[in-house]
Symmetry: C2
Subunit: 126 residues, 2 copies
DNA sequence: CTATTATATAGGCGAACATTTATATAAAGG
DNA sequence: CCTTTATATAAATGTTCGCCTATATAATAG
């Protein structure tokens, strides 16, 4: 009848409320967790891991990335557009080419550090 | 007629082959990239970021996590099952409770480091 | 101009995913 | 036993996602 408590009320008097409070202190808020999750989602696909690893070394054009990864050009462009919209990568035009690079903003720097931890990509910027 | 080259052959003679070769040296292989992407995917959801942040501080039972995050118990159990199957978390039974904790294996340690970088979770293990 | 090359975008398809509702197991208490 | 509580699992749903094919834009060359 009372639908305010559809699920176990384990917290009511079973759980150490002090413990819960202490945990909550270190618990990231919804916004912080969402920001972090977004950052991780950029790297949650193996193609993007490889793309961003390459872009952390030097700027590259779309066709070269497609060539190296042996993937279709639209597939690469699709990933790059998403990463562009999230302000993770940028590009400059050089003739017909679009030269992409990993941004030097906070997102880009964090991604460099995350890659260094996982795929062991040291910072190799020229 | 020749379908071996459906996409631009930019790499054929336009691109600096030496550059491409140098990049390839630092490019993570498909397996390494997939492993890294899998790790990032564990953290690509804000609920899991919060769950794993809590579990990096101390072990907790399911109902307490559901209570703190204000989410349904099945939703929490679902995430924990996935993380369990990937060998990221484990649990021990204590009465009716299931006390989960972040594993001390390589995946768990890497996740601690990734969380430290993004949500600023220092290592607070007792 | 026309042709070619590099890139971007649109639409669609199939797979993966996060959550919910409902049900099942399991432990404890009365 | 029977009830309650803690947790797990299953089925269903709506959404997101990665890639494809096809087409559009843009730049260069001839």
């Amino acid at each position: 009848m009372d639908d305010t408590a559809r699920y176990p009320l384990c917290g009511e008097d079973h759980i150490d409320k002090l413990h819960e409070q202490e945990i909550s202190t270190y618990l990231p808020g919804e916004d912080g967790a969402a920001d972090a999750a977004a950052l991780f989602s950029y790297l949650s696909d193996s193609t993007r891991v490889r793309l961003l690893s390459m872009l952390s070394v030097s700027e590259m054009c779309v066709c070269e990335m497609a060539d190296i990864l042996n993937m279709s050009q639209p597939a690469i462009s699709h990933h790059l557009r998403v990463l562009r919209q999230c302000d993770v990568v940028s590009f400059r035009k050089n003739g017909q080419r679009a030269l992409y690079s990993l941004n030097n903003n906070e997102a880009g720097e964090t991604i460099r550090r995350l890659l260094a931890i996982t795929v062991g990509n040291e910072d190799r910027r020229a």
